[in-house]
């Protein structure tokens, strides 16, 4: 039986002379992310590829231009992307205790016309997917967040967000692994360490993992 084909349209853009960005789509979507992670894994096995990192719905590929041209790599990426992706094996499940007492919890509830308790329940209900690890060490983009909790980012980002802050923005949620500036709404905090500098890989979460939050008292 011939391998099943699918109709993913891949756009491959140059990202300088030694990298490309392969876009599989523009939607926050678990199936697209599964494909991106599988494509990155397949590309990493190639000798002419130095790094391949999945985004939400894309793969950033650094390659050796002495071994392959942009055009040939783009063709190879498109070929690999049309292969049926492997079954999305459930990633490791992390259960994360959260003290829901963030400085923005009340304002978030007001803006969403919910009680703080409803915000906490809505946030803790789903099993989220780790779409992508990146930005800063250990940061993971988790989602999708319930529609009822979707809010634009804060108009003015905070200059310093404490490590362990549990935050939401748009259809995403995440945990600040290090003290850093940030524009997301802070609804709680966790004592779980996400950046593990003395481990390799140094991040607790990996792309494709699953995360469930549960409420604990501070």
């Amino acid at each position: 039986m011939p391998p099943q084909r699918s109709t993913v349209r891949v756009r491959v853009h140059p990202l300088g002379d030694t990298a490309v960005l392969a876009e599989l789509g523009t939607k926050l979507d678990t199936a697209l992310n599964t494909r991106a992670i599988a494509l990155a894994a397949a590309l990493k096995k190639r000798r002419d590829v130095r790094q391949a990192v999945a985004g939400y719905a894309s793969v950033t590929v650094q390659f050796d231009p002495d071994q392959i041209t942009h055009e040939a790599l783009a063709a190879a990426i498109k070929r690999l992307a049309t292969k049926r992706p492997p079954m999305d094996e459930p990633g490791r499940l992390h259960r994360i205790p959260v003290v829901y007492d963030g400085p923005d919890l009340y304002a978030v509830a007001m803006q969403l016309r919910l009680s703080t308790q409803e915000v906490i329940e809505l946030h803790g209900r789903p099993i989220y997917r780790v779409f992508l690890v990146g930005f800063v060490p250990g940061w993971a983009y988790l989602g999708p967040l319930a529609d009822e909790l979707a809010l634009p980012r804060r108009p003015v980002p905070r200059t310093q967000v404490p490590a362990g802050s549990v935050a939401i923005a748009g259809h995403q949620t995440g945990i600040y692994p290090l003290p850093s500036p940030g524009g997301w709404h802070l609804i709680g905090r966790t004592s779980v360490k996400l950046f593990l500098p003395d481990s390799d890989p140094p991040s607790l979460f990996r792309a494709g993992d699953r995360v469930k939050f549960f409420s604990v008292s501070g």
Partner: protein
């Protein structure tokens, strides 16, 4: 071994970084100017990837505790040995007790000091590069301070002084043109912004570091839907909503959701690394083929040092 009497403004141990860690959100890091870093290593007989000292905007004051072979490349901070001017881009012997000092900044922003045998820093995630944010690698994850003692590995080949990079192969830091390739979101730029990007003069703001340079210049607009975050690379020029571009450098954030309008050619990144806050430069639109030719030419210049 080298002892640090004065550290300079920001001197860190750097090698070629840890590119595999980007999937964990850890910046790849490594020397900002890979050409100068590699040249320094090859001039003293090291592997290309050995660790060197990256000296930012000013040089340190070091004392050789043992005889060693060094090479200073990159920015010209008027290096001196025992108060006598010493050539750059050349292997130079230091005897025990010799003092390496630097004067004022004449060109460039980052000087590299390689020592035969390689600088032996702390290794973190496969690299000795200092990551200041994570406080790991190099010298306890921090910049050098007075009193530090820098360990050096055992040279694997005989130490030969006097080897140098020919003058016509040395980069000219006064030529401030960064060749750049249209990026994934170039088409989002409005017509005037597209023209301005390649016509206008930009300058490196004072809010710039090893993570990236905020650029000052005309406001650029690339309107469109919010993007889903994707992996980014050094050289990518991001355009946040405010219209002031950011050029990502060695310790860049590994993912971002801003449009990437152009990406600086790999052969121009050493020039970018030598820009100091306040320096003005231009972008020149460059086809990939030309960028790859420039890249090969640089490599050939370095390969001459292997002969």
């Amino acid at each position: 071994m080298l002892r640090v009497l004065r550290p300079g403004l920001l001197t860190t141990i750097q090698d070629i970084g840890r590119p595999h860690t980007v999937a964990s959100g850890v910046p790849p890091g490594g020397a900002m100017d890979r050409f100068a870093h590699t040249a320094a290593n090859l001039l003293v007989g090291n592997d290309r990837g050995a660790a060197t000292l990256e000296c930012t905007l000013s040089g340190p004051h070091l004392v050789a505790e043992r005889a060693c072979l060094i090479a200073i490349t990159g920015a010209d901070f008027e290096p001196r040995v025992n108060d006598v001017a010493t050539p750059m881009w050349t292997g130079v012997f230091l005897s025990p007790g010799d003092q390496l000092t630097f004067g004022g900044r004449r060109a460039g922003a980052r000087a590299y000091v390689a020592v035969a045998g390689g600088i032996a820093g702390e290794r973190w995630l496969g690299s000795m590069s200092t990551n200041l944010m994570c406080a790991r690698g190099g010298m306890q994850g921090r910049a050098l301070v007075a009193g530090d003692v820098i360990s050096v590995g055992e040279p694997s080949v005989a130490m030969v002084a006097g080897r140098s990079l020919a003058g016509d192969q040395q980069p000219v830091y006064a030529e401030r043109t960064l060749h750049a390739i249209a990026g994934p979101h170039f088409a989002r730029l409005q017509a005037e912004s597209r023209d301005a990007l390649f016509d206008a003069v930009f300058s490196v703001s004072h809010d710039s570091n090893r993570m990236g340079y905020r650029l000052e210049g005309p406001r650029l607009d690339a309107p469109g839907e919010e993007l889903l975050s994707f992996g980014v690379v050094a050289g990518a020029v991001q355009l946040p909503a405010g219209g002031q571009p950011i050029l990502l450098m060695a310790d860049h954030q590994t993912a971002g959701g801003y449009p990437v309008v152009i990406t600086v050619a790999s052969a121009s990144m050493p020039i970018a690394a030598q820009l100091a806050p306040g320096d003005e430069f231009r972008f020149a639109e460059t086809p990939i083929e030309r960028a790859l030719q420039m890249r090969s030419a640089q490599r050939e210049a370095l390969d001459l040092l292997l002969i």
